[in-house]
Amino acid sequence: MTSLLQLQSPDFETIGYSFSEGSRPGNKEHGFYPYTDNGGSTLGISGSDFTILAGDTRSVSGYNINSRHSPKVFKIGGDDETGEGAHIILSVVGFAADGQALKESLDGIVNMYKYQHGKPMSVKACAQRLSTILYQKRFFPYYANAILGGLDENGKGALYSYDPVGSYERVQCKAAGSASSLIMPFLDNQVDYKNQYVPGSGEGHALERRKPEPLPRSTVEQLVRDAFTSAVERHIEVGDGLQMMIITASGIEEIYSPLKKD
């Protein structure tokens, strides 16, 4: 009796049981990729007493346009769905589902802070917290580039830029998303006055650089519009609509204007 099993052919291990797949040695390869790129671009510029965050409203998957009105800029810490009473704005671009999850988690935290401490969260604290949220998913990241905007403790425009795993810095201006490589050099030139020199100030290396100064709101708004109308011409994933949020001491203003839909 005992020998019955031993009499079986030595290669009986190779029989293809339907459940044997999991016990194969080596690493299991997943056929499922949990990310996608929903395209679009965002842009933030801060001034002396305001911050502007803008994003186009197109959502794509591959060459398909999912929606022409899918916002990327959100109010954080509002009382309800409309964002009434918010004092911080956030833009997310990249994988839209992760962006949405990131926004909801930050919004929840900023609201809980308000209920627990009886005062609104400062932009500086919120900026640090957003970095922590991103880094907590360091090994399965939120595939989104975030820009956070608000007013700092002195009432000056504050803008923070993030990478998907939480590195962040306070910046004057930042472009993110699919057309960031088109918009950022334009911003370097027009906001930081890179490669601009004072006429007649000298020859060669003696040329004096044009000093950047905080720009007025009307100039910044026009820069944002110009950046996006140009990006639309050269990038297929950008278009349909431009959503701008301007945060000042008197609150958050939201402006929507059309972009080319081709």
Partner: protein, 260 residues
């Protein structure tokens, strides 16, 4: 019988040899869905003045095999909302059970609230996102139609990655390529939804279903059609394509041998 309880009920080692524990699968990874098996193709939907219309054919394919031809891919939730499923049929049936259970739960709770289409869409998007984050996706793209909190027509999509978006007309699968351009031409997006009549919308969907049957190899000429208005949901589950014309086929040139 052995005096060790661990051995009771098991084949005796001295008779059958040592029990091969590898079949118990205790330390192996869980197997997750890596690809869909039995699938449904396009779902189409469009908003009109006072409601939303949705259509989906009744075919469930197993690869290129037309496996089941009477599968209802549109389900009604709480008499006010419709949900249309593209993608894996067994995952659809699982989600259908989830929706059944929250429907029962909500109707037995005493808060008096009812879930509208927007709530159902949020719920489904969270379920799908959570599952993709566990690397165990529900392989579907879903359209949800009904009304939002302000009783305005609502139409939104959610897919296996948890991505959500909303537009006046939406389509999943092949429909995103074939039906959306037709719908966008008939009803430009800047055109207010109030200018689109119910009959117009339904006729457009029927026309799109025909185009899909002509060109989508995994489609069927029988389909479900749902119309949501404030009066409730009108769901017809044995619609057939009418007035098909294959005359265009003669004029197709460029594939294979040409005789003329």
């Amino acid at each position: 019988m052995n005096h060790l309880p661990q051995a009771w009920g098991r084949p005796r080692d001295d008779v059958y040899g040592t029990y091969d524990r590898s079949y118990l699968q205790t330390s192996t990874p869980n197997s997750h869905t890596q690809s869909p098996a039995v699938t449904g193709t396009s779902v189409l939907a469009i908003k009109f003045n006072g409601g939303v219309a949705m259509a989906a054919d009744k075919l469930a394919s197993y690869g290129s095999l037309a496996r089941f031809t009477d599968v209802k891919r549109i389900r009604v939730f709480d008499k006010t909302t419709v949900v249309g499923f593209g993608g894996d049929i067994s995952d659809m049936q699982y989600i259908d059970r989830l929706l059944d259970s929250i429907d029962v739960e909500e109707n037995y709770s005493s808060n008096g609230n009812t879930l509208n289409a927007k709530n159902v869409h949020t719920y489904l998007a969270k379920v799908l996102y959570k599952r993709r984050s566990k690397f165990d996706p529900l392989w579907n793209q879903i359209l949800v139609a009904g009304f939002d909190d302000d009783s305005k027509p609502f139409l939104s999509s959610a897919d296996l990655l948890g991505t959500t978006f909303s537009a006046p007309h939406l389509a999943t699968g092949f429909g995103a390529h074939l039906a959306i351009p037709i719908l966008r031409r008939l009803f430009p997006e800047e055109m207010p939804v109030e200018n689109i009549g119910k009959e117009e919308a339904v006729a457009a969907l029927r026309e799109c279903m025909k185009v899909l049957f002509y060109r989508d190899a995994r489609s069927l000429d029988q389909y479900s059609l749902a119309v949501v208005t404030s009066d409730g949901v009108e769901l017809k589950e044995d619609e057939k394509l009418e007035a098909q014309s294959w005359n265009f086929a003669e004029n197709i040139r460029g594939y294979g041998t040409q005789v003329n």
